[in-house]
């Protein structure tokens, strides 16, 4: 009667490092980003001794550049990971029947979700495509905002390439606003993302949450 579980490797080390580095960066970027958007005043002390906005901008831009490279790395892994190049898994939603079954499972209409062979479930794949798009937009708008203030090295090259994008979007003010709106998309994503990770854990009992740390996920052993 007892059920057997086997532990299988689901995520490579690179994936896990990438995931948590991205998670930390995004968290820092949201906090510092909101300070940049709606700062509070530091009234006491002499101007020369204070540099709060300067430091926060520094942190934001530093983690912003991290995110740029983490994103490039993640895209690279999607295509060239030696463990599991997962770019095809992002299209799990293309199987419509399965997607509908998955929605029914999420809405608690069905008790069991469909068996998918891809790394991500159909809804999950949609969410991550959306997320990749979000990271892409925030990285591009971030690089434009950065290039507006710094004119050397990597930033200058990026800005030279992206200046037409700035013009197309309608100027720095629009770029900045889009950057701000996408911050909210990230917050919404994170709320649902973390809940779903725990929900999976509770319902499927595969150890989803810990899998992003240990790399291993539990699967029901076949008789």
């Amino acid at each position: 009667m007892e059920k057997k579980f086997t532990s299988e490797k689901e995520w490579s080390v690179a994936m896990r490092i990438n995931h948590w580095a991205m998670a930390i960066s995004i968290f820092v970027l949201i906090v510092t980003g909101f300070y940049i958007a709606e700062p509070f005043t530091v009234s006491s002390g002499e101007t020369v001794d204070k540099f709060l906005m300067g430091n926060i901008r520094y942190a934001h831009i530093l983690f912003g550049v991290f995110l740029v490279f983490l994103f490039i790395w993640r895209v690279y892994l999607a295509f060239f990971s030696r463990f599991h190049a997962d770019w095809k898994d992002f299209f799990a939603w293309a199987d419509m029947k399965m997607t509908i079954d998955q929605i029914k499972f999420y809405l608690l209409i069905k008790k069991e979700g469909p068996e998918y062979k891809t790394l991500y479930g159909p809804m999950q794949s949609l969410a991550y495509i959306g997320l990749f798009f979000m990271v892409f937009v925030i990285v591009i708008t971030g690089l434009i905002l950065m290039g507006a203030g710094y004119h050397e090295g990597f930033t200058a090259v990026a800005y030279f390439i992206l200046r037409p994008v700035e013009k197309m979007m309608g100027g720095l003010a629009v770029v900045r606003y889009v950057h701000h709106v996408f911050t909210w998309f990230f917050i919404l994503f994170i709320v649902v993302h973390i809940y779903m990770a725990f929900w999976y854990d509770a319902i499927l009992k595969k150890g989803t949450v810990s899998s992003m740390i240990s790399g291993n996920i539990f699967k029901k052993a076949k008789e």
Binding site: P39, V42, T47, K50
Partner: protein
């Protein structure tokens, strides 16, 4: 090693500047030969207005630096200024308020730039000319014919494209603005757009833009030099003409047609309040203690971080002041569609509201996050019931 490289670098630069200088001298000679005689004596005028030789010399150094040229070019700038009135100018007005002309021509405390602008050889200017009706029309035709390929066409104001352009008709023959602009611009040596209306459409083109106004470039498809601003700084116009006189070519432009020497950096990069921004010292309310201390106007809606212009460097009214210095944030008037993209002008960008109410992105974001949290709580409870006893 680095030093060696440095001097090598210096040598190349010096050589390039020498070549540029030669080119400049040759071109100025050419100008003196081919363009009509100066109608005005600049130095006489300066004296008349109480400006000394010293003021003029000082102005040449400032202008040379503003144009990003080394000091050896000072005599050339002075010479170009003396020849300023040789360039024939046709000045057209379309959908606008004439504020740019007003700002250029009516300073109560004229400096060299203003006087220079007075010497400008206006062959046609609708606000300033005495002629009207058919006579004015003839003047325009004559100027365009006499100086074909030599004159500079300055345009103030946007062009409405709605109703086949008939929202704006001019003169006794009732030509549309688009027709006039096309006729004149096609014969001009260069088209310079003064102000954000002619450059990008600006307020006449602001949402919902009932007359379908656009900037000159978009309306008639010619390339233009855009001296953006609402109004722009006279220095940016005179500097561009001086550059044209000195080198026979227009200055380098950014991808919006604005001269890089004037619009290459943001207000925020030149701002004298910038140390207060970095130190998190913000004005929170008009006239509060922080305002008295000259702190940063970011929270009062300053759009300096999104605006390319040199206002803080060259200032207005003979270098006396500029908007941020006088205590009001930048409104971003040198950027395309600033009336819409920079709104609300006296509040930070994220305070833009939707649906006529008080809803900002942040209000909407908080509401959506709340809804998501409530949905999650309900889903968690429902899941607990539905999957009770699962193994």
């Amino acid at each position: 090693m680095a030093k060696g490289n440095n001097s090598e670098y210096r040598k190349t630069i010096d050589k390039q500047y020498k070549e540029l200088m030669k080119h400049c001298q040759l071109h100025m000679e050419q100008v003196e030969k081919t363009l009509p005689e100066s109608k005005e004596d600049l130095h006489g005028l300066l004296k008349e207005r109480g400006l000394t030789r010293r003021d003029f010399v000082k102005w040449t150094s400032v202008m040379t630096a503003a144009l990003m040229l080394p000091p050896i070019f000072k005599p050339m700038v002075a010479k170009a200024a003396e020849n300023f009135s040789r360039i024939p100018v046709v000045w057209l007005h379309f959908a606008e308020c004439t504020g740019c002309s007003e700002a250029f021509l009516r300073s109560s405390y004229p400096n060299v730039d203003d006087i220079l602008l007075e010497t400008i050889s206006l062959e046609y200017h609708e606000t300033l000319m005495a002629a009207s009706g058919y006579q004015a029309e003839q003047n325009l035709e004559k100027a365009v014919k006499d100086f074909a390929g030599k004159f500079i066409c300055v345009i103030e104001g946007a062009l409405p494209r709605g109703l086949d352009g008939k929202y704006l008709t001019l003169g006794p023959k009732g030509k549309t603005g688009i027709e006039v602009a096309k006729e004149v611009a096609s014969k001009a040596a260069a088209v310079i757009c003064i102000g954000s209306c002619s450059a990008f459409g600006n307020i006449p083109a602001a949402d919902p833009n009932p007359t379908d106004c656009v900037g000159i470039k978009k309306a008639i498809g010619v390339s233009t030099v855009n001296i953006a601003g609402c109004p722009p700084n006279a220095v940016n116009f005179t500097g561009t003409i001086l550059h044209y006189l000195m080198f026979g070519a227009l200055p380098a432009l950014d991808n919006l047609g604005r001269p890089v020497w004037a619009y290459g950096k943001r207000i925020h990069d030149y701002c004298e309040r910038r140390p207060h921004y970095d130190a998190s010292e913000f004005v929170e309310e008009w006239g509060d203690e922080s305002a008295l201390k000259g702190w940063c106007l970011y929270k009062m809606g300053c759009k300096g971080p999104y605006t390319y212009a040199n206002c803080g460097k060259v200032r207005f009214n003979g270098g006396i002041s500029w908007p941020v210095m006088s205590g009001h944030g930048c409104i971003g008037c040198t950027e395309p569609d600033f009336w819409d993209t920079m709104a609300p002008l006296e509040k930070p960008l994220p305070d833009k509201t939707y649906g006529g109410g008080e809803k900002t992105v942040d209000n909407i974001g908080i509401a959506l996050t709340g809804i998501a949290a409530a949905g999650i709580a309900a889903h968690a409870v429902a899941s607990g019931i539905r999957h009770k006893g699962d193994k």
